[in-house]
Symmetry: C2
Subunit: 387 residues, 2 copies
């Protein structure tokens, strides 16, 4: 194929037209983008991708500082900027990992843990917020109350107010207002407890993120990303090297990990597998979730490697988006179930609160099972039979 | 068809060869049995069926008395006899209901509530025992412990002993013995609480059953069943009447009730429908279960009507066994979930106990959802897609 032969008409130097010095910054590369039409699949495809992601990182960082990290925490633009920052950090890190052979190895090995630290630390605040939202939505669903407006969900207090009986209203209300018995009070108390715990965790994560963004360690990372945006430290042979073998290796690691998953079981609806150990005393996440989390990471590495190749016209696996969403949901439900179980260990809670947290835990473990089924269906769809 | 024309070679009197006076009693009719080869489909088919079921009722009653209700409660033969008694009472009652037009109406209307009282009262003991077994098995599954031997499951105490930490064993045990943390203690306490409650209910049901079997009201029922075993009070026109229209009406009632079920939702695995209102304060069974319970009863009436016709060679719907099992499981899981929720209202229970009961409740509600899916698959199998 022509792609294997570097086209002299597209020299590596052309990539430098996409440097961050330009006032109008280019959009990051996505699957299907083909920034260099006819670009041959060489190390230069990787360089183009890494420069674009580094540029996006710097753009997001500038936006995050302008929209104000500290003061306007939670402002929509600031949240978007933080997400874009994590998004590009993940992609750069993945590129350094998958295509390490095409890069300066020492530089790559020093850079990756720093990027993981950035995306990990900056992602915590959002993770706690999303976890609380997921759990409060589930409590509403389980209480048969209609889903509250989005703002009330994340605020926490409105949920408690909506679920708790009005002061002095002890008995049965009018038909239009559902009766509030002890277990509904349990759901309200469980919601308030989760709100307290996860809001505290989120606030701490927010403070940590601000400290990180102001730290000299982070500034060093940003400086290195700025260098990356103009100059990718390729290995000497990389400009002419084929990036497809390392991408194929990433695909193979994914395929092998998926082959080890219990997909036959997952493809049987209601296999009741995810709630085994649901009453186990181990506070750590279910060990059975580990291989699925691992596949989620490998699938992401594979997807980003595909993005690198996509600039050269490589085909994209149409199963990836749905499979990735299923695994994200798996991770979210797994962590939400753990959060409910951990909250149930709070000393001196009422039995009704503990009961509601038990129902909530089991509900989220079934979400775990449902997302495994969804992954199986996305990856190898076939006729399903009941157990 | 020849079946519509009564064959003079098979006069109604032939049915009297199956009277209970014979020392060797005939087996009850089941689908596919054809006791009267070439028997035309007339009211006589119903008479044959009712006589056989009445005979079976009397045989089971005799066996139950011989194997000794009071003293040897729980002995296997006695349990089998009680089950056979309920089984024939249900079939007689269903026959009187579906084919009322072919019978003496007053007699039928007087007899049916008495048979419902007998099968209902005698079924309670078994229902409580099965419910406890289902819940304790689920607790074992949820605790990640292997299922105990059958005797330990129903005895209750061995479960508690198996789950509770050994006296003085406070910390982490050797790797071979799973660590027993607070929530496992919660599962053990939940099991002990359910054992106490359901064993008490079962014991009361057993006493009630013994009182029933010794009551003059029951003796009156048994006397009337003895008469039925030799003389079915058919309506004047019944010997020549076609039993298929009333059987078709029973089938139509079933079809209409199934058409009203949310089968599209049920056919989507993990639709999370059964646990909506999982934290509702209403102690009564979920109202959404009602239509399914109703279909379960209508399916049983349809099946018994098919049994009546089967003597005349009518086709049997192959979907009935699997669909019936799914609805039985639906009923059992629904009632087990309620039992867990009710136990959680016990005053002064520990939070860990309440948490375990919450997990157990949600687990059984997912069993409810799973059995709806199984019913949908049995009734109208098709390709399933993930939500």
């Amino acid at each position: 194929m022509a792609q294997r032969n570097p086209d002299p008409a597209h020299s590596p130097a052309q990539g430098s037209t996409r440097l961050p010095a330009s006032p109008r910054l280019p959009a990051p590369l996505g699957p299907g983008d083909s920034p260099e039409p006819g670009n041959p699949l060489t190390g230069e495809a990787l360089a183009v991708y890494l420069r674009a992601q580094a540029t996006e990182f710097l753009r997001a960082l500038r936006l995050h500082r302008e929209t104000g990290g500290a003061g306007a925490a939670g402002a929509e633009e600031s949240v978007d900027a933080a997400r874009a920052l994590r998004r590009s950090a993940r992609r750069i890190s993945a590129g350094l990992h998958t295509f390490r052979a095409l890069l300066d190895g020492d530089w790559s090995d020093a850079m990756r843990p720093e990027l993981a630290w950035v995306s990990g630390t900056l992602g915590l605040e959002h993770a706690y917020e999303a976890r609380l939202e997921r759990l409060l939505l589930a409590l509403h669903r389980l209480s048969g109350t209609t889903a509250p407006p989005a703002r009330a969900v994340t605020a926490g207090a409105p949920l408690t107010a909506a679920l708790a009986p009005a002061p002095g209203a002890g008995g049965v209300g009018p038909a239009a207002v559902p009766e509030r018995g002890p277990l509904t009070v349990g759901a309200a108390k469980a919601g308030a407890l989760l709100d307290r715990r996860l809001t505290l965790a989120r606030t701490r994560a927010h403070s940590t993120a601000l400290q990180v963004l102001g730290s000299s360690r982070f500034h060093a990372v940003a400086d290195r990303v700025a260098v990356l945006a103009s100059e990718v430290p390729l290995a000497p042979a990389a400009p002419a090297a084929d990036p497809r073998p390392p991408a194929a290796a990433a695909a193979e690691r994914l395929t092998n990990a998926i082959a080890a998953l219990p997909l036959v079981t997952a493809g049987h609806p209601y296999n009741a597998e995810a709630l085994v150990h649901g009453l186990s005393p181990d506070p750590s996440p279910h060990p059975q979730d580990g291989p699925w989390h691992q596949v989620r990471l490998l699938l992401r590495l594979h997807r980003y490697a595909q993005e690198v190749l996509a600039g050269g016209g490589a085909p994209v696996d149409v199963r990836l988006p749905a499979a990735g969403r299923a695994l994200d949901r798996h991770r979210d439900a797994s962590e939400a179930a753990s959060a409910a179980a951990q909250a149930a260990r709070t000393p001196r809670i009422a039995p009704a609160t503990a009961y509601a947290l038990g129902v909530l835990h089991a509900d989220q473990r079934h979400e775990v099972e449902a997302s495994r089924f969804a992954f199986q269906q996305a990856w190898q769809p076939r006729t399903v039979t009941a157990l």
